[in-house]
Subunit: 336 residues, 2 copies
């Protein structure tokens, strides 16, 4: 049996307007009538239809989230942060991972151009003009996560990869006096990776170290990349006394390679990573790495998005969340 607002109105003897007011927030309804209506509604098992409400109010209480292909604990953390904050603020979350470029754009258009969501959170590996155009046309607010500098005048929440990388390399230099510090990089087209590389260069430069090209190897952020990078870096006459590996996933590969090669960490070579992923705590020796507040990234993005929606503020805004050095023993520090 269909039970809509009319039914409740009829049975309670009030108008639909009054029933509606009962379910809207601070509307003026006499407390006694409110009770009556609520009672009837409960008996009838009435729940306001959110779609009808959305159509009428022109807002859906829903935010759209677009992520790169959903995988790994990074995305888990992001979703976790987003979901948590959205729940606190009584919003629903539609997630979509971009399985392909085409799908990505379609989804973006759908979210930005239609009434399905009130706002969107977008994390994409690369933002091109196509995206820029879509966004320009749209009336929905959007906040980016970890976007690079391609787009100007956007709202963007990101991680301070640069500082994090600088800090951990600085640690190797200042605390341990390592002279020959190698680097296994991330993908060349990855914004995070690029920033981390910059931080590495900066630290070496500032402290007067030479850049030794033989000690700088390409990588891919995957376990295998770290494995191969680690093996390769020892093939040169120049041997590193420490290696900054651009993420923990690759560091795991490096640990494996070290084990196979009989290389002791940190005895023969110090190793540090980046990300402080969950697995990292199980590496022996405990890896020195950079903690990245991923979950925060999600929750703050949601929080800010909702703020924009309320205030209709449209100003560009960038927030760069700080990272934190996590000291283990892989860098040569002693266990305490």
């Amino acid at each position: 049996m269909k039970v809509d607002i009319k039914e409740v109105a009829k049975r309670s003897g009030y108008s639909t307007a009054t029933v509606s007011r009962v379910y809207s927030n601070g509307e003026a309804v006499k407390s006694s009538t409110k009770q009556k209506i609520l009672k009837i509604a409960d008996e009838l098992n009435y729940i306001p239809n959110p779609i009808a409400r959305s159509l009428s109010k022109q807002s859906t209480d829903t935010i759209g989230v677009i992520l790169p292909d959903l995988f790994g604990e990074f995305f888990m953390d992001i979703i976790h942060g987003i979901d948590e904050e959205a729940y606190k603020q009584n919003r629903f979350v539609i997630v979509s991972s971009s399985h392909s470029k085409r799908n990505f754009l379609e989804t973006l258009v759908e979210f930005m151009g239609s009434g399905r969501v009130d706002g969107v959170i977008l994390m994409a590996s690369q933002i091109d003009e196509m995206v820029a155009k879509i966004i320009k046309k749209s009336k929905r607010p959007i906040v980016f996560i970890n976007a690079g500098d391609e787009l100007k005048n956007i709202v963007n929440f990101k991680i301070n990869n640069y500082e994090g990388a600088f800090g951990i390399v600085e640690h190797l230099i200042l605390e341990h006096k390592y002279k020959k510090i190698g680097l296994i990089k991330g993908p060349d087209d990855n914004y995070d990776a690029i920033e981390r590389t910059k931080g590495y260069y900066k630290a070496l430069t500032i402290y007067g170290h030479n850049i030794i090209p033989d000690l700088i190897l390409p990588g891919n952020f995957l376990v295998e990349g770290g494995y191969e990078g680690f093996k390769k870096i020892f093939r040169h006459k120049q041997r590193p006394d420490a290696i900054f590996i651009a993420n923990d996933m690759m560091a795991i590969g490096a640990y494996q390679a070290a084990e196979e090669m009989g290389v002791n960490i940190p005895g023969d070579v110090a190793v540090v990573g980046f990300d402080d992923i969950y697995l990292s705590q199980f590496l022996i020796p405990r890896i020195t790495t950079v903690h990245v507040p991923i979950s925060d990234l999600g929750s703050r993005a949601v929080n800010y998005l909702l703020k924009i929606m309320q205030s209709k503020n449209n100003k560009p805004y960038v927030e760069i969340l700080p990272t934190k050095l996590v000291v283990g023993e892989s860098c040569g520090c002693k266990k305490i």
Copy 2:
């Protein structure tokens, strides 16, 4: 500027009905008029409003997914499977993790009782009568993931934990002739855990092994649980020659404990796990475990849900996905 179906109709010289038909699937529209309308629509940047469409069609092209507190790679995989299948079938996915019991029920009511989604996928640690009642009242189809046997006559997709556990313990018995096989269990109120324990008992029983209570320890599916369980199991005079650890997470803890205690795996004691989580491949020695098709669980659930929605079929259905033994060296098998 607001651009709705009326606007497109007016500018193209056709009625809203015809414009609507252009956007509905196989409706009869002359190809030439379709082109004209599409052209105008494109110029105007028109996108049909999905909310209005939903209200009119009484369906949203969206499915709701409720998961236990979002965490760990298990949930990542589930979401991945769900998202992928939903995308293929042109559906949107609203996710909600149940941060609390109250939130869980609220969300369930919202999804089941209102028009926000067309169907729901539910995974919950425990299904009580409250849940049963909500579901009974609702008209939306629902499919469960990994539900226990509390509810009868539901659609349920689950993992064959029982067989998986039986198989891996059988492997220890048949291939390795271990006599004293210990168990570190999962939480007592966890359905998966219970099934795995059953499989363990069954294997011992069938092959005429004695159940040795000292070798059966409680656990919690967390790293720490495995760590402590492993240490504890060696405190008894009865020493196991093999241990079945009810999930890989705990196995990681056990590896750590073994390292600290100077216990060699599998030399001093064989160890096997369950789940085949991503991390497992990095354990040395490679752990023997049971692969669980989690992502499939998600995609099949979605697929079946959509099937139900189309056919309006309402029959109970249970699908139990098989697991697969993954042989490493931790059980005593040789590397090949």
